[in-house]
Structure formats: structure tokens, C-alpha cells
Amino acid sequence: MTDIALKEQILRLASDLTTLEINLIVKDDMTARKMPSARLALYEIAQGYQDLLHELAPERCPTTSDLLEDDAARDALAQRLIERAPDHALAETLAGERNPEVPHPSFIEAFALIQLEAETLLASAGDDEFRIRLRRIAGNAWQLVSMLGVIATVAARRPRLYTTPCHYQAILAHEGPAGGSTGTALELLPDEMVLVRKAWEIGTAGIAMQTVVQLDGDIVTYVARAHATSTAILSIHRDATEVALRTWKDLFQTIGILLGQVASVFRQVKEGK
């Protein structure tokens, strides 16, 4: 069992709020498709990441079905993880006995392995665009491992969203592309849903333009070489950035008003009403 502190989760949330990220993707055959359930969305994210890793290095990275559905291949990968990163939070879990009631490995194991593979490929990747994509995969996989670790810890200790304590493998076991039912729903909190939603929405697509705005005022914009001269891309990205900045400003204004209200209530109480 991973023992990821709640502190990490809180730090991630704070970091999310202090950084604004605007991504522009150019993608063919797009539809207004609804995001599936959290469990199926996680499966699709893992599938997309693993397929890209396999495409980049077919000899060393297994396919999604190997990673998520073949116990022998997964055990071989787990062994590599234990050998290369014995201090990894998951090493002990992977080395231990599997829960016989849960047929598939959990998402937490799959994303930990994806993260490790992406980091390994990143060290040798030459192409800039692939480096960016690999860095995103490694980063998102790490965030998902942290998130799932917190869910697993809380579910085992004292249920937050679950009525009875559950084995984390039962909660986090994937169900394949069909997304059947293990009997234990995967319920995510709003901040966890934000992370899954974003990872699912972006997938492994190459980002044409990205702007990151930090609370201290720093703004960094990345433009893919292929789109650097497109006025349409620059124009809609500028509009999208304006929308995001306005929403961000409104959010902080609301938080400011809320804090001001609370402070005024406390002040009134202190002054004897």
C-alpha cells in the first residue's frame, strides 16, 4: 500500500490554484463526446499513455493489454520497477502477494509503471515535441498515482466516500474498455475529478500552444514550430487566454469577498456585536 501523505494532495491543490494553464490542441475528427465514468476515463488515459510509449519504444514498452491485462507481463514490469527503484512507494506492494479476488492489477500500479517508463524514455528522447509529451505523461501519471494513493489509504483506513472499508485493489482495479462493474464504485472528489478530466481531455495529443500564468505575474507561452505562423491559432489562443484569465480573476475576487465576509463577522463578534 502506498503511503502518500495528505500534505501532497493539499500542496497539489494549492499549486493548481496558483498556476493557470491554457492549452490549445489541434485535432482531427473531434466530437462533443461526454467524458465516461471515472473508472473508464482512467482506463482510457492509461491506454492512451501506454500506446504512445509503445509507439516510441516498441521493444521495451509493452502494449496496454500487456500492462493492464496480462498478469505475467505486468509482473515482469513490476520486477523491473522494484529493481530500478527499490525505494519507490509501490515496490513493497508489487513485491507482495496479490489479492486473489481482484483479477486485474490496479490503476495505481499501471500509472506508477507508466511514469517510470516515460521518465526513462525522456532521458533518451531527442525530439522536442516528444520530450514535451513524455514530460506531460510522466507528470500526469505521477499526479494520478498520488491521487489514487490518497484514495486507497483513506478507503482502507476509514471510508471517506465508501460506506465500508474496502481493499484498495477492489476500488482501483480497472475493468477494461468495457467498463463492467466490480461492485465498488470509484467515487472521486471534485479536485480529483479536475485532474482526471484534464488528463482525459488532453490525452496524448500534441499541444499547439500553451500559456502558463503564475500568481506572481510570470507568463510563459509555448508555441509548436508547426503553428508558429498561423494567425488563426494565435488569435483564438489569445481569446482563450483572456477567458481563462477573467475566470481566474473572478475566482480570486470571490475568495477575497468570502474571506472579507468571514473577517468582518469575526470582527463584529470580537467587538461584542
Binding site: 466530437t31 481531455e201 477567458v243
Partner: protein
Amino acid sequence: MPYRRLAAWAATGFDRLRQRRTETVALLGALRLWLARASDAPDDTTVLTRAELVAFYRTGGRVFPPEPAEGAAAEATPFRLLLQPDGDLVLVVEPRMLEAPDFGIRWQRFRDEVANWCARLKRTQQLIASAPRIAATGLTLVAAVGDLGHYLGFGGAAAGSAYLYALPLVGAGGAGWCCGHGLGWIVRRRVRNQLGLR
């Protein structure tokens, strides 16, 4: 004299309640506004409905164009925008659209739809920002009722000790004291539970 003390206690209690009158009106007004505007079928379309607001936070953001209903087929779209509660934004564009002659018009229409929703979100957030004030006013009102019951209870007891015919007043005051303090205790316990304090 007991009746003087009773009168003083009652006057203090009523005075406290009277002081809360402005807050009572403000509380009821704000509640009415909140219920009217944040209902599922609001008269005023300048704010989000409760269902829209809950979906925005629970599902990790709002997608434009709106996602199809459960079971409905997903239609092709030239733009897809995800706006998340933490402000992050993901915009996906169909490459063919960038070359289309009506690109400018379609993008303008899409941008206006997003901007309109964002304006509604802003107004809803401003409405929600008044929540602590409403909650605090509610709590002070409960405390005021408790105070009044308290004064009536003690006043009634004092009066009862002096005059036997004042017994009904003792009963009414005692009931008021119990109700006020009981309500205060329940509210306090719920607030403490919500804040995770034990």
C-alpha cells in the same frame, strides 16, 4: 423587586431581537434572492442554475459545446473547450476549421457563448460570496431567540416565585429557553461537524 427584574430581563431580550431586525430583513431578502436565482428553473437567467453550478464543480469543469445527454450520439464539432473550476482551460480545434472561410464568424459565435456562460458564473459566485454573512446572521438570530427564551425563562421563574398566578409565564419562558438553547446547540453541533471539529 422580582417584577422589575422580570421587566428588565424581558426588555433586554426584546431589545436584542429588535437590534437584529435589520439583519433579519437582510437574511430573509438574501435567502429569497438565493432561492429564486439558484433554483433549477430560475426566472433570472443571469445566474447559473443549481444543477449547472454543481455539475461544474463535481464533473471537473464545463465543456463547450455542452456534452450530449446520456445515451445520445456525440456530434462533430469544430471547437471544444473545457473550462475547469481552478481556471485552467483546454481548447481543441479542428484543423480544417482554421482554413474555413466562415472561421471568424463561427469562432466569434462560440466565444460569445463561452463569455456569456462565464458572466453567469461570475454573478453566481458573487451571490455565493454573501453566504458567510447569511450564515452569521442566521446564527445570531438563533442566539437572539435563545437569549430571549433565556430571559423569559428566568424572568418567569422569578415571577413565579413571587406570584402563583404567573405559573403559565414560567412554563412559556421555560419552553422558550429550552427551544432557543436546544436550537442553538443543534446548529452549533452541525457547524462543528461540518468543520470537522469534535
